[in-house]
């Protein structure tokens, strides 16, 4: 774990899409495995395409690298009531990846692939 503590967020970039989705889903609090899937599906509006095993492969890897921490729930049988939360490093990596992606999105705007004005969701959100 000590080596992970010295790691710099940039070492992990770019993240695979699934890893980023997992980190993103945990940004507002710890969740169970199925909670992660539900959050991702709600946000994207479509069923998660990865298999459950692949999801856990990603979780295992993120955990090993110190981006996620697991917490056992009281009284629950080990491994069943486990919730996952972002570590400080995980939060930093997620933010770095989001920035990286945002930069790519700006590039796309500059190349006129996307309309250059503010995204409609954000605009309507501001007026409310």
């Amino acid at each position: 774990m000590s080596s992970a503590n010295h790691a710099v967020p940039a070492d992990f970039l770019p993240l695979t899409p699934l890893s980023f989705e997992i980190l993103l889903s945990l940004a507002d609090g710890a969740r169970h495995g199925y909670g992660i899937i539900k959050e991702v599906e709600e946000r994207s509006g479509e069923p998660l395409r990865s298999s459950t095993g692949t999801l856990y492969l990603a979780i295992q890897r993120l955990q090993k690298n110190g981006l996620l921490a697991a917490a056992e729930e009281n009284g629950a049988k080990a491994s069943r009531g486990r919730t996952y939360g972002l570590t400080r490093l995980g939060r930093e990596v997620a933010a770095a990846e989001a920035e990286r992606l945002a930069a790519r999105v700006s590039d796309a705007r500059l190349k006129l692939l996307l309309p250059s004005d503010v995204a409609p969701e954000a605009a309507s959100g501001g007026h409310d």
């Binding site: 770019p14 692949t54 856990y56 486990r82």
Partner: protein
């Protein structure tokens, strides 16, 4: 089930993942699954699909220590063979996904193709499961290839594979060295009575030699069975129970050594047979030693009564040839030693499997051929549908080719699409087979051997899978080649768009011709069989089958020790039954027409010259008034009478015997005996009447010369009670029950049936096989009609532009129709010609199934050919009509 399969899938992932997260992954998958269920079937399918494909790709990749998830940001490391495998897997998965998408975008085609394939594969799988169980699976005995069935032959008497006389069997056993041992069993079941919870019930016992189970090598699950030599009467009576009977009696493992009372005689249970041991008859409840009196060994009847079947186990390394010739040598020795009984008596041996399976090879083979034709027709059908689509998709394929897709890849894509269809068809076919197997088993004759093993197992599953795979390639390859053999310049140019190329048309026409050619043999065979049924229905059996209920009755040896008491019981029973209101007649016979084996004897008349004798006449015993009950006329003389119970032995002969042996005078008053030589005759029977002929073996066999003895005089202990009444069968059964119990409350009766059912059993084999054939023929015809229709409809639709041009140039509706008909019917007529030739060439195999019509009956052939052609005409008229309504303006504008 899903859980177990999912657990299996997880083996694709590294062990460390399973160690850490197994339960969690399973829980989460389960929540996902139930959430998907709430969204309907398609969500479940999507979830399972992603679980499977994702596990295959990313699971294996992770095992290799690579990326957990395939990512476009991080391209894979340099190629290793493993990587190439992964890439290939991914691209095949991609093709699969693409195929599923393509098929979903053409649901009508996909649905039709899957249904057609399901019918073909389902019917074939159902038939295969029967063939597998009956013909292919080895017998459930130890080293079954070494088992032979032995029989006797006598060319002089027309005996072929006859039952064996006990004394001859014993001599074979003593002298033969090519066999390790020879066992024997009676060729019938004895009905014994035992009390179960106070109720008398029947136990079907087969009497066997002591070495019976050892020779078969059939395992007993409990006990040690009989000992060699147990066939001779000893102090203790032993019995081995069948597995089914043992379970029925509670399946108590402590049963060994207990006593079972049969007909109030104690039997010691020495074994319980393994479940698969149902030999020699499926209905066997138990086996008991024969219990021969040692004095029989030298008795003449022991060498004269042929009632046993012998089974031998070949010595290690001995050829069947050697065994057969050794047996023949022994037969010759016996002919010399016992000229009186063994004159012209030979013997023979065939593998036991052939013996058990017997005559079923031909009908099963024919049915499988028919069903194979159905599958081929289904393939041709789907192939022509694919061909039509391939033509439509040439532009798409050309575009993909132009964009750089390799032809091999396009062919693979097309083949994978066919395989997806075949897999779906195979799955649906298995579901159909599940139902179909039951239907086929129900339709096959009840006495068909080895039917208890029929069912869907992994062998059938494998067969269906292989069938689906082969059909997928068979119907997919031609269209795949067709679709990809394009020149981008031509196909993208649009000049040929919507028109089938001439070579495609040729292939389509050949497919139609093949379908029609395949339908004809099946349809003709079915028609011949239906006509056979019609002929059989018009055969006069010689008695009236309606309104007759049949009961089996068997008097236990204890309580009815002598012939007089048995005769008295039956006489009292018949008398009381005849007095009941609504009962129009009652009589008994030791054997039922069509059901029971024939017993035949030689006989002689007292008035004949010493060297004259009659050979192989049928010999049954009956009660008085049986003929009246069956409505068999007495042509001359009279029926048996009550008064002659204690008098001189009497007999009735049938007309066939009278005509054959007494052509110029009446046999009434003649004295007959069942032996060739007058000096050997102990009983002389005086003929008192001549009865009408009764077809006793089957409706399709000749009437046999028969002699009827009197049950009452011979003191028979068991037989069949026939009761004629117009009352409902249930009322008759309860009336007979009351009458029987009134005389003996401990007597069971069994095998309640109706004479109509028994009559249905005769010709039943033909009826059932032809029923199956009819079903297959109907399916084949429908499929072929659909094939003709779809090909013609497609070809016509493809010529919309041409037709538009011709209409605008002044062609009339009739001209358009004629063109469509000519093009549609040419391949049909070609197919009819080919099909008729095939059928004529192969008609010989039908000879055993056809009665009263010729296997090459021209009328049948012509009628079926014309009918098929007429169906094809209808299939052409529908698209022709549509072509006639083509609006030339629209048709030309469409291009």
């Amino acid at each position: 089930m899903v859980r177990a399969m999912h657990r299996l899938l997880l083996f694709a992932y590294p062990a460390s993942l399973r160690r850490e997260y197994l339960h969690e992954i399973q829980d989460v998958f389960h929540i996902r699954l139930s959430a998907a269920r709430a969204h309907g079937l398609s969500a479940v399918v999507r979830l399972c699909w992603s679980e499977i494909t994702d596990a295959a790709v990313s699971g294996f990749r992770a095992r290799r220590g690579g990326q957990p998830v395939p990512s476009m940001f991080q391209p894979p490391a340099p190629e290793s063979p493993y990587d190439r495998l992964l890439t290939a897997m991914e691209s095949i998965l991609q093709d699969l996904r693409f195929a599923v998408r393509t098929l979903r975008s053409a649901p009508g085609f996909a649905f039709a193709a899957i249904i057609v394939l399901a019918v073909g594969i389902g019917a074939t799988a159902a038939m295969f499961s029967v063939i597998d169980a009956v013909l292919l699976k080895p017998l459930p005995f130890h080293e079954p290839d070494r088992l032979m069935a032995l029989f006797e032959t006598n060319p002089e008497r027309g005996w072929d594979r006859a039952q064996v006389a006990a004394a001859n069997y014993l001599d074979w056993r003593d002298r033969a060295e090519t066999f390790t041992d020879i066992a024997a069993h009676n060729d019938w079941l004895v009905e014994r009575t035992t009390l179960v919870a106070g109720e008398p019930t029947v136990v079907n016992v087969n009497e066997v030699t002591g070495n019976f189970f050892r020779v078969l090598g059939s395992g007993l699950i409990l006990g040690t069975g009989f000992d060699a030599g147990d066939e001779w009467a000893g102090e203790e009576r032993k019995i081995v129970l069948s597995h089914a009977y043992w379970l029925q009696q509670g399946g108590d493992e402590a049963i060994i050594g207990r006593t079972l009372a049969l007909d109030a005689e104690p039997y010691t249970v020495v074994g319980v047979a393994a479940p698969e041991m149902q030999f020699p008859f499926a209905a066997v409840d138990a086996w008991a030693p024969l219990g021969w009196d040692p004095a029989n060994r030298t008795a003449t009847f022991f060498r004269r009564a042929h009632g046993m079947r012998a089974i031998a186990r070949l010595s290690e390394g001995t050829s069947r040839q050697a065994a057969v010739s050794e047996l023949a040598t022994i037969a010759t020795q016996l002919q010399g030693e016992y000229p009186d009984t063994n004159m012209a008596m030979g013997n023979g041996a065939i593998p036991l499997h052939d013996w058990i399976v017997g005559d079923t090879r031909t009908p099963l083979g024919m049915l499988f051929l028919a069903v194979g034709f159905v599958l081929l027709i289904a393939c041709a059908n789907v192939a022509s549908m694919q061909l039509a689509r391939a033509t439509d998709r040439r532009a798409e394929m050309a575009l993909r080719g132009a964009l750089g897709a390799q032809r091999l890849r396009l062919i693979r894509q097309s083949l994978i699409e066919s395989l997806v269809l075949a897999a779906a068809g195979g799955a649906a076919g298995l579901a159909l087979a599940l139902v179909g197997v039951r239907a086929v088993v129900g339709l096959l004759p009840a006495d068909f051997p080895r039917m208890q093993g029929v069912g869907l197992d992994w062998r059938v599953l494998g067969f269906a899978l292989a069938a689906a795979l082969v059909t997928g390639i068979a119907f997919g390859l031609a269209p795949a080649l067709r679709a990809t053999s394009s020149e981008p310049g031509v196909d993208l140019g649009g000049a040929t768009r919507g028109t089938a190329g001439s070579s495609t048309r040729r292939v389509a026409a050949l497919l139609v011709a093949a379908e029609v050619a395949l339908v004809l043999p099946v349809a003709i065979a079915a028609t011949l069989m239906v006509r056979t049924l019609d002929e059989i229905a018009h055969v006069e059996p010689g008695f009236e089958v309606d309104d007759t209920t049949v009961f089996g009755l068997s008097l236990p040896r204890t309580g009815y020790v002598d012939g007089e008491s048995r005769a008295a019981f039956f006489d009292e029973l018949l008398t009381s039954l005849r007095q009941l209101p609504g009962i129009d007649g009652a009589g008994m016979s030791t054997r039922l027409p069509f059901v029971n084996q024939r017993w035949s004897s030689d006989f002689r008349a007292e008035s004949w010259a010493p060297d004259e004798f009659g050979v192989g006449v049928r010999h049954d015993e009956i009660s008085r008034e049986l003929f009246a009950t069956m409505r068999v006329p007495i042509r001359e003389g009279r029926d048996f009478e009550r008064a002659e119970l204690d008098g001189e032995p009497v007999a009735i002969v049938n007309r066939a015997l009278a005509d054959l042996y007494f052509p110029d005078r009446s046999p009434v008053g003649e004295r007959l005996c069942f032996d060739r030589v007058a000096e050997d005759c102990r009983y002389w029977y005086t003929v008192v009447g001549v009865a009408g002929n009764v077809r006793r073996s089957s409706l399709t066999s000749e009437e046999e010369p028969s002699i009827y003895g009197s049950m009452a005089q011979n003191g028979s202990a068991s037989g069949f009670l026939l009761v004629r009444s117009e009352l409902p069968t249930d009322d008759v059964i309860s009336a007979v029950g009351v009458a029987v119990r009134g005389l003996d409350s401990a007597l069971p009766f069994h095998t309640v049936t109706t004479m109509e059912a028994v009559g249905g059993g005769s010709g039943g084999g033909e009826r059932r096989v032809s029923g199956l054939f009819g079903a297959f023929a109907l399916i084949a015809t429908l499929l072929a009609a659909f094939g003709v229709y779809s090909v013609v409809a497609y070809a016509t639709a493809g010529r919309t532009r041409e037709i538009g041009v011709r209409v605008s140039l002044g062609a009339r509706g009739a001209d358009i129709m004629r063109t469509v008909m000519v093009r549609g019917m040419m391949p049909v007529l070609l197919g009819v010609t080919a099909g008729l030739s095939i059928t004529l060439a192969g008609a010989g195999v039908l000879s055993g199934f056809v009665f009263g019509v010729a296997v090459r009956d021209p009328l049948t052939y012509a009628a079926v050919a014309v009918l098929l052609a007429a169906i094809a005409v209808v299939a052409c008229v529908l698209p022709g009509r549509r072509a006639q309504r083509v609006d030339p303006v629209e048709a030309l504008r469409a291009e």
